[in-house]
């Protein structure tokens, strides 16, 4: 047999096998949809006055007494705001009022009471799967009706602040809060986000277990929970946990030019660098940035939990010091890290302290700014900017941004950050 004939045979075999495999998969999708479609519901947040939809998402039943699990960001608008209410729609499209019982703002989960007993619910349990397991995600993409999406389980994300499952399948707006399950109906995670091109993310289902428990406690207490206080507490507790991991132990610094600068504060940071040597040979710039990927959705306008740092090193190549420092001043005036994370009503204005700090023979121009979350007591955004003074031919502007942290943590991390800015030993 020639090589050409061999290829033809292989192709034929593949063609023969293809329809059978495709059909099997189609059958599974169809079966999963038939079996579990009625385990899900559509959720919408409605403006009380006009009855207009403000937010749309999906949800699924997790108990016989009719508790629904969804994403916090789906119902966020209605939490502690009487201008909005939560409505869930059954299989026939009939709307019923829902009550938010418990939220986990950090993991982006919420439990909604429907007050309708049901037999069509998922039993929730933690589970482990091999990478490559086929998953089926249910939800209402773009409000187009309940749909099923087939995809692949690609394990838990590494380098992430909060555990997330990487799901290869197209999750679209509106599917948030829907379940992703195995062919035999075990829920693996909750649809939460996508970065396009079928790269999607799920909240692992084990995170829902404590939230469901809290929902039951709230139901038993028969008293409307104060979610604002609860959310504040959750963020406060969360930032204590992850900030404790920043700049721990080992000297996480990077050498750029004559400076040693902080980098990679914890494994869940991603860092980039970029050098530009082409300024007509007069000076060089080196950028180095690190930031967390994850953020906490608080509202349509406010995000929290982002930590980022950025260094911009300037190295003179024989530029007159006055000219070099003009350049340096301009860099200091710019902000290098993330943009606004909140709207005017979410936070106060910044208040800043400007001064020079002298430590270990180094003088640093610093600006430390904080603003407070208006609704959540004890939570602040902080911005710490430093420029090393005294060298005629080298400078660095370094900026650390923390969002949704306690004031004590802000100053503590700023000091650790400062400790890691040094002259490199020659």
């Amino acid at each position: 047999m020639t090589a050409r004939q061999g290829l033809a045979v292989a192709l034929l075999l593949a063609l023969a096998a293809w329809p059978a495999a495709a059909q099997r998969r189609d059958e599974t999708s169809a079966t999963v949809f038939q079996r579990y479609a009625d385990h899900t519901a559509k959720i919408q947040v409605v403006e009380s006055g006009s009855g207009a939809k403000a937010e749309l998402g999906s949800a699924f039943f997790v108990s016989a007494d009719g508790l629904l699990v969804t994403n916090y960001h789906v119902v966020a608008e209605a939490v502690d705001d009487e201008r909005y209410r939560v409505e869930w729609l059954d299989q026939n499209g009939a709307g019923h009022e829902g009550r938010v019982l418990a939220v986990d703002v950090v993991r982006d989960l919420a439990v909604v009471a429907t007050d309708r007993p049901t037999t069509r619910y998922f039993s929730i349990a933690a589970l482990t799967l091999p990478k490559g397991t086929r998953l089926y995600s249910l939800g209402h993409p773009e409000d187009l009706g309940l749909s099923i999406v087939e995809g692949v389980y690609n394990g838990r994300l590494e380098h992430t602040l909060y555990p997330k499952i990487h799901f290869t399948g197209p999750i679209n707006p509106g599917m948030s809060g829907g379940p992703a399950l195995t062919a035999d109906g075990r829920v693996v995670g909750v649809n939460v986000a996508t970065s396009g091109n079928s790269v999607s993310f799920l909240v692992p289902i084990d995170a829902a277990i404590p939230v469901i428990k809290r929902a039951r406690d709230a139901e038993a207490a028969a008293e409307a929970p104060d979610f604002t206080a609860e959310i504040g507490k959750q963020i406060l507790a969360n930032q204590d946990t992850y900030l404790a991991k920043l700049f721990q132990g080992g000297d996480s610094t990077v050498r750029i030019g004559p400076f040693e600068l902080p980098t990679q504060p914890a494994p869940f940071f991603r860092c980039w660098a970029d050098a530009d040597r082409d300024h007509e040979g007069r000076y060089e710039t080196v950028d180095h940035q690190c930031s967390t990927d994850d953020y906490i959705y608080l509202s349509g306008s406010q995000s929290s939990g982002i930590v980022s740092l950025a260094h911009k090193v300037l190295l003179s190549r024989g530029l007159n010091p006055l000219r070099f420092y003009n350049l340096y001043s301009n860099q200091f005036r710019q902000n290098h890290t993330v943009a606004e994370l909140a709207e005017a009503s979410d936070v106060t204005e910044y208040r800043c302290r400007n001064d020079n700090i002298r430590r270990q023979g180094m003088v640093l121009k610093t600006r430390f700014c904080v603003r407070r979350y208006t609704s959540y007591e004890g939570l602040y955004d902080a911005d710490f900017k430093v420029a090393v003074l005294g060298a005629r031919d080298a400078g660095v502007v370094s900026e650390l941004t923390l969002s949704g942290v306690s004031f004590e943590n802000a100053t503590r991390i700023a000091r650790k950050y400062l400790d890691r800015i040094r002259w490199a030993k020659p």
């Binding site: 707006p173 070099f324 200091f332 001064d355 121009k365 208006t374 000091r415």
Partner: protein
């Protein structure tokens, strides 16, 4: 008895060349140097005419047989006639006008060139030109320091020329006002003065950059603002000096009043209440190439101890805004997420 009369001698274009009081008659008029009124007009006779008095105190003129004659208004050649206030005669190409000695005259015009001070000196074109060149040089120098890559001559001069152009428009406004109010066109002086103040403000800002660099943590914005306002008032006072005849005290009072109103308006429009977060963060400090040992600085402990005041400040702001938020509902967000 007629009132005292003045003979105004005007040339072809109406410019008055001389005035002569009509006293004891006869008064000879002509090119001849023995005349009481000597005309520098080649079309007039050496002894052209004479003005004589009559016993009743009135005056008469008599042509002495001149070549080109004596003419009344309406182009009528006359050999003699009576002279009274308002009479106008043409002799050669010269006009003789008879006016009352009691006719009021305008008050003396104010002449800044007779004044001392910077503004007075700027009336000298060379002084004004010097100021313009100085400003161009300062702008070019600053542009050079601000560009790490070597700028071309055109790039160096552009900011200065733009400044000159703007100041030129401003100066032109004043110059035309001056023309209307006082029949003077002093564009160069107005321009020089506007540029002198602009140069001063530029140098003031640079000075404050350096002062600010050596006094970190001190907010000198108010001092700089006040000094800039003084410069603004000085600018106006200078223009007033070129245009009006106001005494210095009045000039300054009006200039200060206008500047104060402008500063007040800016303060009201820019008062906190908007979303100032960005503006505070963008507020820039200037860095200077000075050795570390000369720089004032706190230690780390002191710095963060004082930073604790920020917490108190923003906590108070947050409490204030929650109190006011309850009254103001925000807009509904209708975009579905993710």
């Amino acid at each position: 008895m007629g009132e005292a009369m003045i003979i105004e001698v005007a040339d072809q274009r109406g410019r008055i060349l001389q005035r002569h009081r009509l006293g004891a008659a006869p008064v000879g008029i002509g090119r001849g140097l023995r005349n009481a009124v000597i005309l520098d007009d080649p079309y007039a006779d050496p002894d052209h005419m004479v003005i004589e008095s009559t016993p009743d105190g009135s005056y008469h003129f008599r042509d002495l047989g001149s070549v080109n004659g004596t003419w009344e208004a309406h182009h009528r050649r006359v050999s003699n006639g009576m002279v009274r206030i308002g009479t106008e005669l043409k002799v050669g190409r010269t006009t003789l006008r008879f006016v009352s000695a009691d006719q009021p005259v305008t008050p003396a015009l104010y002449d800044p060139s007779a004044q001392t001070g910077i503004v007075g000196r700027l009336l000298e074109p060379r002084a004004a030109a010097f100021v313009l060149v100085l400003y161009l040089a300062v702008s070019a120098g600053l542009k050079y320091l601000a560009s790490p890559d070597d700028p071309s001559t055109a790039e160096l001069l552009t900011p200065g020329l733009a400044g000159l152009l703007l100041a030129g428009v401003w100066a032109a406004m004043w110059a035309f006002t001056n023309r209307i109010v006082a029949q003077r066109f002093r564009f160069l002086s107005h321009w020089g003065w506007a540029i002198a103040i602009t140069t001063g403000l530029t140098l003031l800002a640079i000075g404050f950059e350096w002062i600010g660099f050596f006094t970190p943590g001190t907010d000198l914005g108010a001092v700089e603002g006040a000094l800039s306002a003084v410069a603004g008032a000085w600018l106006l006072a200078g223009h007033f000096q070129l245009v009006t005849e106001w005494p210095p005290r009045r000039r300054w009072a009006i200039a200060t009043g206008i500047t104060g109103a402008v500063v007040g308006l800016i303060a009201i429009l820019g008062r906190p209440g908007g979303f100032g977060a960005g503006s505070v963060l963008r507020e820039g400090a200037s860095l200077k190439p000075i050795a570390a040992r000369f720089l004032p600085a706190s230690d780390v402990e002191g710095y963060f101890a004082r930073a604790a005041e920020l917490k108190t400040a923003v906590d108070r702001m947050a409490d204030d805004s929650t109190a006011s938020d309850q009254a103001v509902p925000g807009p509904a967000d209708s975009t579905p997420k993710r």
